[in-house]
Amino acid sequence: MNAVVIDVGKRHIREINDDIQAACKTGQEIVVRNTLSRHNLGIGLPPGARISFEGSVGYYCAGLNDGATVTVERDAGWGLAEGMASGHVTVGGYAGMSVGAAMMGGTIHVKGDAGPRCGVTMKGGNIIVEGKIGYQSGFMAHAGKIIALGGAGAACADALWQGEVWIAGEVESLGVDVVVVEPTAEEVAEVDAILDPLGLVDSSRNWRKMISGQRLWYFESRDANAWLMI
């Protein structure tokens, strides 16, 4: 099948994104080359688009994704798929700081590690990281799931709201107001259903499910210590 090839180089980023949007309208698969790790590649991609980036990308790649399937061959910079509404984003290597920041829905699949504040203030959707998630991951996540198969850095799930953080592997330390609970078989089955299409189900995993202790949801002067921990 023919793919539309778009060369990035040193052209203005608006021109490149206009080319990408025009290519999306043809319904063909899109390959973006020579990215030079530039920022803001593939912003606001429409439903049904299929696009892959050769090499690595810079900040905010696939931000505001509206339903496209996006693949990054190697690493992604900060804020990958920020504010995504729906779609599927795969990163072959490492995803930098704040992957999936404030995302509303869709799936992000990182094959390597993820940087600090993975899923910060996410409001829906799922982030699956095969490696380790960085410092303060899940910070103030409102909804959705972060699933890490290779452990987590310090201050994990810090100030979590209604999101969930699922970790298999070592956790360096927990953040403020986090409660680790034993997941039910139904809940594990739900997570496996998310991992299944990615071929990542493994029944031997020892999950730690993290949810909010809810001490930061309302201010209680009797419980002021919880706020001082922030």
């Binding site: 790790s37 530039r38 920022h39 690595s56 810079g58 900040y59 690493d75 600090p116 960085g134 303060q136």
Partner: protein
């Protein structure tokens, strides 16, 4: 938001040209002013100075005053000062001087005229070039692309805490420690506390810029017996704020990053050479093909890179 960069070459080469590229790619992070710290082949004796005078109408009077202080301290010009003027009110001078009897005492006296004439770097090898404008403009004006050296730092400034002035931009020289320079991306929140403490120890600050403080803080720790690595690590728990800074000395570049992991640093190390910048797309300007980058994204990190072959002919 500022942009920083560091570069180490295996042998003396066009480190200036590389730093100009690294900063040109990061101009969107701050175009108020741009600066470079370049370590050329080191002298056995004598110091290279880079100075700024704030009013070119006073140029000859400034130089007379400066020269008088220099001679009082038993030193003199080894070469005629090279003066650079343009449309702006300020002017820049490069000098090579013989060793003053006591560097610290001389710079303290030379700083008495720092309200109109300022030494912005001093070293056997270090030269700091900084001015208003973007990377290309500063490089064109000062011939930075032709500067040969083994390592150096770059900075694009978005002023958040103090004025946009040629002398208030980065890199900063760690007054009075020769050959120490710093670039910094971030804000120090306990600046005034530390500044007062360091001033009580006799240090002098010429700007209101918090980055000037870090350079002196680290050098003071090293003077008091810490290794550079220990000093960098200690800065993470001692200095409050968000920062990623890179500090360069005669034969080394190091960096430290705050506990909150707020400011990025991306590094490519290849064949003993280093290219480091705030953004990966900048590093790719000098390491064009796809290569493995290290993202120092985590909290509380430090690292030191040694330079080698400083005296080899290019």
């Amino acid at each position: 938001m500022c942009g920083i960069a560091g570069r180490i070459l295996n042998s003396p080469g066009k480190v200036g040209a590389d730093l100009v590229e690294l900063m040109d790619a990061q101009e969107h992070r701050g175009a108020d002013s741009t600066g470079f710290a370049i370590y050329g082949p080191p002298r056995d004796s004598g110091y290279v100075l880079r100075c700024t005078g704030f009013d070119k109408q006073r140029l000859s009077r400034d130089l007379e005053e400066f020269h008088a202080v220099l001679r009082e301290h038993g030193a003199d010009y080894l070469e005629d000062p090279k003066i650079l003027t343009d449309d702006s009110a300020h002017y820049c001078v490069r000098m090579v001087i013989s060793d003053p009897r006591d560097l610290g005492r001389w710079i303290a006296d030379a700083d008495l005229i720092s309200d109109h004439f300022e030494v912005q770097s001093c070293g056997r090898s270090l030269e700091i070039i900084k001015d208003i404008g973007g990377s290309s403009a500063v490089a064109d004006k000062h011939g930075v692309r032709d500067m040969i050296g083994t390592h150096g730092l770059g900075h694009a400034r978005l002023a958040t805490e103090s004025s946009v002035l040629p002398n208030a931009s980065h890199p900063f020289w760690a007054r009075p420690f020769p050959d120490v320079a710093i670039v910094h991306n971030g804000q120090i929140t306990d600046y005034y506390t530390w500044r007062a403490k360091l001033e009580r120890r006799g240090y002098r600050f010429l700007t209101q810029n918090d980055s000037e403080l870090i350079a002196v803080w680290v050098s003071d720790q090293i003077k008091n017996g810490l290794t550079m690595d220990q000093a960098l690590k200690k800065s993470i728990t001692s200095i409050d704020g968000v920062f990623t800074y890179m500090i360069a000395r005669e034969n080394v570049i190091g960096f430290a990053k705050d506990r909150f992991a707020m400011k990025p640093l991306v590094v490519v190390e290849r064949d003993g050479e280093l290219a480091a910048a705030t953004e990966e797309q900048a590093v790719r300007r000098v390491v064009p093909d796809e290569s493995d980058v290290i993202n120092y994204d985590g909290p509380g990190q430090t690292r030191i890179w040694q330079t080698t072959n400083r005296r080899m002919v290019a």
